[in-house]
């Protein structure tokens, strides 16, 4: 490998460590780092202990399912745009490395080394998470690491073949190959289609694995499964490791031999990935490219300026994240039927309450169409001739609205398939607004006090992980506290009024609403104190 590219990798590795400990000099940063580190260690320790306490998975089942999982992952990578990323270079790499004195092969080797470096971390994490499925940790680590590298190399080879034979032929060829795989799988599984259930799903997997095309397709991936289940590892694994190494070397040979003109498409793919990251940094984990301006909603009443701000957030959410919002909506609607057909229909009340609580808690962190998504627009917001309280209230509207829509979808999906008590439905409908508002207020308050761009916590980002954990804990505490006060007062009314349920509910709702209103001044103060010149994170 070119020594300069090796140096760049070394500098970047040093930068990862620096980034991990960046900000740890401040009390806040150190706190996040400690919490994140502790949580990560606890989680991994729990996984490892679990692997020793629980019985090991049957090696025969690992041998059956692991190659199948890998084949699925490989095919998914190849037929989606994820495959294009196999040879994607970030804009900084395009600007510095492409005009630099490096050959295309040297840059490919650099790319492979970088990916392998990432695979080391992933393999370490996965080897602990999936330790129960391997006979020894070292076998798990080596097997997973080599499997990840192999998939990366295969993706790279396919992309480069595509570059060699031309984009159109490649796209057509990829579609034909995909159709071929689908037809082959359908033909093999056809006898089992009449009654799909968990039991004969495993029969289907087995029949595919034992069929002639299945054996051919799964043979390369079976090598990695053998490393996982090798016992004793010292005696059994080396042979399979050698075979895996030879397979990777062969694909690497093909990659380097092709020496395709990949740079232009790699630059474009890299730019797409970079743009996506930038959008996610700004808007959150569900943001996608703005696709159409056709989607319009009428301007809301001004309401002291709040209407315009809320309107902007809703329209931005619909335009930048429409497809993701639709997918989430379908998932919410499908939850009921899925649970019904899955046989989980015995405790519908418990099911619907747990589902909605979980989805609400998770989505309140994801739907960032508020101050969190406006991090780069705080200057503009502050310059508007609108009262801070109006801005603060307006910023809450979009995420609260979307949360309610998703909760409604889950409720509709569940009610269509399962019998849910009407009192529970009424309870959810009535209390959704104050609870959602409370959650979004807490999210925004934490954000304005501890602003951060962290959206998807990357591996090794302990500070980001710690921050997420603390946000979840704080959110849970505030919500529990608020609900306890409202519930307590409601219960008191229930007792004093001779068990008047409706009245006690109304009182509890009013108390929750008051708590929500009481939080707005805190939000207003936090927004006022936010100084974009020092508080905006890089």
């Amino acid at each position: 490998m070119n020594p300069a590219l090796l140096k760049l990798m070394r500098l970047q590795a040093r930068a990862i460590v620096r980034r991990m400990f960046r900000g740890a000099k401040t009390v806040r940063g150190a706190m996040f780092l400690i919490v994140g580190g502790a949580m990560m260690i606890l989680w991994l320790a729990a996984m490892s202990v679990n692997a020793f306490v629980m019985p090991r998975a049957d090696p025969q089942r690992v041998e059956l399912y692991f190659p199948m999982a890998m084949l699925t992952l490989c095919v998914t990578t190849l037929v989606t745009t994820a495959g294009e990323r196999a040879v994607a270079f970030f804009p900084a790499e395009v600007d510095f490395l492409f005009p630099g004195p490096f050959s295309r092969r040297e840059l490919l080797v650099y790319k492979i080394f970088r990916s392998s470096f990432g695979a080391i971390f992933t393999a370490t994490l996965f080897s602990l998470v999936f330790l129960r499925f391997a006979q020894h940790w070292i076998g798990a680590w080596v097997g997973i690491f080599l499997a990840l590298v192999f998939i990366q190399m295969i993706s790279m080879a396919v992309v480069l073949i595509g570059q060699t034979i031309g984009e159109r032929a490649y796209t057509r060829g990829r579609k034909i190959a995909m159709m071929g795989v689908v037809i082959a799988v359908a033909a093999i599984w056809r006898p089992h289609f009449h009654a799909v259930s968990a039991e004969n799903a495993s029969v289907m997997v087995e029949s595919f694995a034992h069929s002639a095309p299945g054996r051919v397709l799964l043979a390369p991936f079976n090598v990695f499964a053998q490393i996982l289940i090798a016992d004793p590892v010292i005696a059994m694994a080396p042979k399979w490791i050698a075979i895996a190494g030879a397979m990777i070397a062969a694909v690497l040979g093909v990659v380097l031999w092709l020496d395709a003109q990949y740079m232009e498409s790699a630059a474009i793919a890299g730019q797409k990935v970079y743009d996506r990251i930038q959008r996610m940094r700004r808007r959150g984990g569900i943001s996608v490219r703005t696709t159409s301006t056709r989607l319009r909603i009428p301007m809301l009443p001004r309401l002291g300026g709040a209407g315009a701000i809320a309107w902007r957030q809703i329209i931005v959410a619909l335009r930048t994240s429409r497809s993701m919002l639709i997918v989430m909506m379908i998932i919410c609607l499908a939850v009921g039927p899925l649970f019904y057909f899955g046989g989980l229909n015995k405790h519908p009340a418990q099911l619907v309450a747990t589902l909605i609580a979980w989805v609400t808690f998770m989505l309140s962190n994801t739907l960032r169409f508020d101050f969190r998504g406006d991090l780069d627009q705080i200057d503009t917001l502050k310059a508007l001739p609108v009262r801070r309280s109006a801005i603060a209230i307006a910023e809450l509207v979009a995420p609260v609205l979307f949360l309610m829509v998703f909760q409604g979808a889950i409720l509709a999906g569940v009610c269509a398939m399962l019998r849910v008590d009407s009192w529970l439905i009424a309870l959810i409908v009535i209390f959704a607004l104050p609870i959602n508002t409370m959650l979004i207020e807490v999210e925004n308050l934490i954000f304005l006090i501890f602003p951060s761009r962290v959206v998807n916590v990357s591996p090794g980002d302990l500070q980001g992980f710690g921050r997420q954990m603390m946000v979840f804990a704080f959110k849970g505490l505030v919500l529990l506290g608020s609900l306890a006060i409202a519930g307590g007062i409601g219960a008191l009314v229930w007792l004093l009024t001779g068990r008047a349920m409706l009245l006690s509910m109304i009182v509890a709702w009013i108390v929750l609403a008051i708590e929500c209103f009481a939080m707005i001044p805190t939000l207003v103060i936090a927004f006022g104190k936010f100084d974009p010149s020092v508080d905006t994170p890089a």
Partner: protein, 253 residues
């Protein structure tokens, strides 16, 4: 030093550049002019070896950028419009990497000079992500100059620079050209091109409208020698828009 012969670049049915030919000798500063979408950045990126030409030959210091890309790139520096830096690396680490990539000995001394020249000395240990737009531009320029390139390609070099930075940048281009480098500057700032460039290449819809010394452009497009570059530019491009005929092309092919 920079040679482009019959360069074509197309994307499926879209023709970005069609049959472009020009050359830049050591000491010359070529101004690449043209409206948006004329093919300026595509041309620079092709000379830099980032995108392959669909057809034609591009060479730097006699080395074909496709067939002998490493040798060509060793003699070349490219500063893109809105340069992207490695966010997690410091300014100094960028220079360290460039020194290693281009095999520059005693780079620290040269880097110190460049940092001083572009007022980056106090920012040398900052991460790239902490820098302003102008600072990032300066870092990219310093990286480009570190290995004393024989050919320099700069796309919109003044974007984001402060007045001091603009003056330094202009002077540095003059100095590099005087020292024997061939420079291509792509810019919409006609005053900059008029101020710095010895030669002009006017592109429109991927075709060359004019290539030659600035004085020749005055003869070709201006009624009198007093006409400004702005007048010449509009006369060239507007005439071409009205009469998109091959006779308008005035390359010296």
């Amino acid at each position: 030093m920079i040679q482009v012969n019959d360069y074509h670049k197309s994307y499926n049915e879209t023709v970005a550049v069609a049959g472009l030919s020009f050359h830049v000798q050591p000491g010359q500063i070529l101004g690449l002019l043209g409206p948006n979408g004329a093919g300026k950045t595509t041309t620079l990126r092709a000379i830099a070896g980032i995108i392959p030409p669909t057809h034609g030959m591009l060479a730097v210091a006699g080395f074909d950028v496709v067939k002998q890309s490493v040798e060509a790139k060793r003699r070349l520096a490219y500063v893109p419009d809105d340069p992207k830096l490695f966010d997690a690396l410091t300014v100094n680490e960028h220079m360290e990497f460039i020194a290693s990539a281009y095999d520059v000995n005693n780079w620290r001394e040269e880097a110190d000079k460049l940092f001083a020249q572009f007022e980056l000395t106090e920012h040398r240990n900052k991460l790239a992500q902490e820098l302003s737009r102008g600072m990032r531009q300066k870092v990219a320029i310093c990286c480009a100059y570190l290995h004393n390139p024989q050919a320099i390609l700069v796309d919109e070099p003044l974007t984001g620079l402060d007045p001091h930075g603009i003056r330094t940048m202009k002077q540095s281009v003059r100095d590099r050209a005087a020292a024997g480098s061939a420079v291509i500057i792509s810019s919409h700032l006609l005053a900059l091109v008029e101020d710095l460039c010895t030669h002009l290449l006017i592109l429109h819809r991927g075709q060359s409208l004019f290539f030659g010394p600035v004085e020749e452009a005055r003869t070709a497009f201006a009624d009198t020698q007093e006409r400004s570059l702005e007048d010449m530019f509009f006369k060239a491009t507007e005439r071409n828009s009205e009469m998109t005929k091959p006779e308008i092309r005035m390359t010296n092919e």
